[in-house]
Amino acid sequence: MQNAAATSQRFAGLGLGLRTDFQAELLDDASRPVDWLEVLTENYLVPGGPPLANLERARARYPLAMHGVSLSIGASDELDMDYLRQLRDLARRIEPEIVSDHLCWTGHAGINSHDLLPVPHTEEAVAHIAGRVARVQDFLGRRIALENVSSYVDYSFSAVPEWEFLEAVAERADCDILLDVNNIYVSSFNHEFDPLDYLNGVPAKRVRQFHIAGHRNNGSHIVDTHDHPVIDPVWRLFAEALRRIGPRPAMIERDANIPPLGELLAEVGEMRRVAARTLAERAA
């Protein structure tokens, strides 16, 4: 299996999460305003019809990243082999540049919360998840990247901060990291840590992709809603991430309150400016 450093030539630059709201407009745009697209895996784990036809169209025009929410790598339930088979089949059909999911769990005893629930940062969880990642990577015949999630609770018995937990899982499992800069910001606000400590603790060589998004600040805590533009502190944190980790494919996620495509592309443009400026400074 290829390692993180051997990132494909096709998977570089700036992308956008493909959503049905604007997919026709974006796929019809001959100017190809972004470098690649990320698709939500579960939207295409259906027997057929327009979703899969649209996925094929997207694939014909852009390099694709496949991003899932159902792996539930941190769950104590058995791995869902029906899901994994469908994931493997779709990945074989689409041949994405990357397959990613989240460092979280989504359900227990067969009940699915359909949420990305935080894992306690314990030795038991590291060992459990590392073993499962190995089985998933073997089954898929390819590496996966795990994304740090936004979290709202901090378990009283977590032994280490999240970045140490993420590093321990990625190292022991030998998997890649999808680093969500907004999620670091959200969790740092919610759990009162310094987001730069997080960035300093992430093993840069394992980071294969960045996510950036907006959120909703409720004063006492932030909820990762993906329904607002990216805020300035997150742009600054993105620059800090680029400074420490280097260039990686980066993208905007927007899942609700979706504006006209032009506004999202303007955000991608902002991401391009931040990346160009930061990477030029870094090289100097």
């Binding site: 579960e42 784990l45 027997p47 019809g49 005893a109 919360s113 359909h114 038991e124």
Partner: protein
Amino acid sequence: MTASRGNTPPLARVQADFIAYIRGDDAAMAGKTRATRKADAETLLGVYRNAFPLRLIEALGANFPRLKSVLGDADFDRMGRAYIAKTPPRHFSIRWFGDRLPEFLAREKPWREAPAAAELAGFEWALAAAFDAADAPALDIPAIAAIPPQDWAGLTFAFHPALSIFVSRWTVPEQWNALGDAGDNEVPRPQRRESPVTFALWREAEGRTMFRSLAEDEARMLAAARDGQSFSLLCEGLCAHVSEDRAGPRAAELLRHWVEQGWVTEARAA
């Protein structure tokens, strides 16, 4: 990574408690998470507990948009919460969460007292199923025309995976249409039919989902054809509806119609 502190509950225990908490057991997570200077533990855990039904109800709204507009947001929300409590999601994909909603509405009070709601849910679920059913190449008229005459009597047919049959006891498909055209106007409540009407639901090649009612003879012939009966048996079956000399031409006419609508994927000689 350093060793965990004492009193670390096993992962499976924490997860069982977390799920119990978001499903309504207030005490399940007591003492397991930290407060911050800005928020108490309950507020932070509440983010997950509040999101759980809202996300699922939003998914139901996507699959049952006209049921939602008939019930109104508040009743739809109430119904969604009752459905979640009774039928918590078990599939990995939220796409399938509504699969038991028609049955739930038919069985549970107060919804069972308005049976058209269960039929509307069943109809919308069937439309959703047609939308992303498997793809299959459909036969066209030239392919049918090229079948040698001697093969016709024994011919059996296979149908597109997106084609389904819906038996309607209330004027729900009509209501569904009216709701789409109504904007904010009131739509008449569905009426119980004197006798059930069979509808076919399918997906056009361009991806649009369609439905239409079937005449009694067409419904019967389609059911028989989907059961694998040969063309000669299909013609025989039509004799209950039309005179013997009209049965062959009527069967050919219906078959042609099905082919034109992209329903037929295969015609197999015996």
